[in-house]
């Protein structure tokens, strides 16, 4: 019993850490540019498939090389998606709904392209660490620990980037006051594109990390989109700290409900908790209106 609960807590922590990475990406775009990206889940699958393709190359045999190559690919991809699809819509009055529509179209396009290119069968990635810690009934694989620390590392790196680099500071400035940021000479368009690119990297990395435990499927991203969305709304859209707390709460909730009531109930309980939270606090745990 006690080991079972320990297992549940550990799986909640690990899922929570990866959710945190992905939810921070989603909340970042919303916080900075007020755009909602419906293709976020497809970017998750894209990350997984890029890693799958990279592992097919003969000279790639470890995850260090995969990350080294996948991160720039995702960065460039995200940058161009923003420049080509989202930026032209920004000057319209009703651009929010137009962005939702265009990213939904992009999601449909990407998901079905995956289906045609890779087939609908599940793809798996090799585990990036072998072995496990074992003590009696207690079992903890090295891979899980690695995923946990990589996600946390990713978030910390992102935090460092926001606080200590010039681009990061301009991202925060634009998030606080776009017009003011523009007046002091911050290139707003570049910042929008850069945040979109960074969020693509974050969700893509999440895809690479989780694809080792679960599998990559063409439509698998929708589940992730909904979870990341729930977490962002729960924590407060645009609030990174709120997103972090919410990610771990959701990860824990999910593993406890899945363990106690069965997996079919996780989504229902998740939405029930979200609705209750939003009914009491419409702006989420730590969000601000506006």
């Amino acid at each position: 019993m006690i080991f079972e609960i320990a297992d549940v807590i550990i799986s909640g922590l690990i899922n929570g850490s990866v959710y945190a990475l992905m939810a921070v990406g989603l909340t970042l775009i919303y916080g900075v540019s007020k755009a909602f990206n419906f293709a976020y889940g497809s970017f998750y699958s894209l990350g997984g498939y890029i890693a799958f393709l990279l592992f097919g190359l003969s000279f790639i045999n470890n995850y260090f090389l995969v990350f080294l190559l996948a991160v720039p690919i995702l960065l460039v991809f995200g940058y161009f998606v923003e420049k080509a699809l989202v930026a032209p819509l920004r000057k319209r009055d009703d651009w929010e709904i137009k962005v939702m529509m265009i990213t939904l179209g992009l999601a449909l396009f990407l998901d079905n392209s995956f289906q045609v290119i890779f087939g609908s069968r599940m793809k798996s990635l090799p585990p990036f660490l072998e072995g496990s810690f074992e003590a009696g009934d207690f079992y903890l694989s090295h891979q899980d620990v690695g995923i946990f620390f990589l996600s946390i590392g990713g978030i910390l790196m992102f935090r460092w980037f926001l606080n200590n680099t010039r681009t990061g500071m301009s991202v925060r400035a634009v998030a606080q006051n776009p017009a003011g940021a523009q007046i002091v000479g911050i290139p707003k368009e570049f910042v929008f594109a850069a945040t979109f690119a960074i969020s693509t990297v974050m969700v893509g990395m999440g895809g690479i990390l989780l694809a080792q435990k679960y599998f990559i499927t063409p439509m698998g991203g929708w589940d992730i989109l909904v979870k990341a969305w729930v977490i962002t709304a729960f924590g407060g859209m645009g609030s990174i700290r709120g997103g972090l707390y919410a990610a771990f709460i959701v990860g824990m909730l999910e593993s406890f409900v899945g363990w106690y009531f069965g997996m079919t109930w996780t989504l229902i309980v998740l939405f029930a908790v979200l609705l209750t939270t939003l009914a009491v606090r419409p702006q989420g745990l730590m969000g601000k209106w506006g």
Partner: protein
């Protein structure tokens, strides 16, 4: 577009559609597609009313449609209520759920509303397939396979002779579009626009956000649920496959092609999208890719849809204040 133009455009569209069975009445397959066009034109118009006019990002339209179809099928199947009444009861049930969904949305904004309404869509599938669904008679994962056909005054509609069915759906679609037109024309439509443009200012002027937002939720979910009921009795079987992402995107494409907030646009968009979707079916797995690419290109090139394009063409000679 002013109301007079909307009315004329709508009258022209429905006049053309009414004549279509003269040419295609012999081909059951084409009639089936036309009936689908009529069904989705109503659902898309409702979505346009809530999203385009009232500015509420509701993403639960497909969920309301599925709820209505299941409700009508269950009511007529288990309680022996004639389908023609069952569809309206189903509409009423859906409207009640719509108000329930609308209540939390009153306090929320933008993407949050999209999430709450999309959540309804996401939850519906496990609920219908799970124990709760089986208890109320949804048939679980198998779905409902035998649904009573529509009967009015002893006349039973069959899919074998689709022309009467077509005119039934035509009548329903015309009534629905007239209702939507009247709502847009009346002070309700003005209130929606005021709330969409600036909620704070509208409230200060005495427009009740509570009343009008709940009303638009109730009206659109009633019409959508009722249409779902008609659909259930028409196709005769239901499964949760409708809740897949395909149908949702098809509706979105309809709005993109027709133009968001350009009312009869959704009707035109429905006919174009459903027909194009059928024409693309030889492409097999490449069809959804093409649809996705089409959405992306159309949003960029034709941001106001076909109706927006017309407006731009016609207003070239006049002074345009909107652009």
């Amino acid at each position: 577009m002013d109301h007079k133009r909307i009315t004329i455009l709508l009258a022209v569209i429905w006049a053309i559609v009414a004549l279509l069975p003269l040419f295609f009445g012999g081909t059951n397959f084409i009639m089936h597609i036309l009936i689908m066009c009529l069904i989705w034109s109503v659902v898309a118009s409702c979505w346009d009313l809530i999203m385009g006019f009232a500015g509420i990002f509701s993403f639960g339209q497909v969920a309301f449609f599925v709820m209505g179809s299941y409700a009508s099928a269950i009511i007529s199947g288990q309680f022996g209520i004639p389908p023609i009444f069952a569809v309206f009861i189903a509409g009423g049930i859906t409207a009640a759920i719509g108000i329930l969904v609308g209540l939390p949305c009153l306090k929320l904004k933008g993407a949050y509303i999209a999430l709450v309404t999309f959540a309804v869509h996401m939850i519906l599938e496990p609920v219908l397939k799970g124990d709760i669904g089986r208890a109320i008679g949804t048939g679980g994962t198998r779905g409902l396979l035998t649904i009573e056909p529509m009967t009015i005054f002893g006349y039973t509609f069959t899919t074998a002779s689709p022309v009467p069915y077509f005119y039934l759906f035509f009548l329903v679609a015309v009534v629905c579009s007239v209702i939507i037109l009247v709502v847009i024309k009346s002070h309700w439509g003005t209130a929606f626009l005021a709330l969409k443009d600036s909620q704070e200012f509208a409230i200060c002027l005495g427009v009740s956000a509570f009343k009008y937002k709940l009303m638009v939720f109730a009206l659109t979910s009633f019409l959508t649920g009722m249409m779902g009921g008609f659909y259930a009795h028409y196709v005769g079987m239901l499964s949760t496959r409708m809740l897949g992402i395909d149908l949702f995107v098809t509706l979105m494409v309809i709005l993109v092609i027709g133009g968001v907030g350009k009312f009869p646009g959704a009707v035109i968009g429905a006919f174009i999208t459903i027909v194009v979707n059928e024409l693309l079916s030889p492409l097999g797995p490449y069809r959804p890719i093409t649809m996705g690419a089409m959405v992306v290109v159309l949003v960029l090139l034709l941001p106001d849809g076909i109706v927006g394009l017309f407006e731009r063409l016609f207003s070239k000679n006049k002074h345009s204040i909107t652009h």
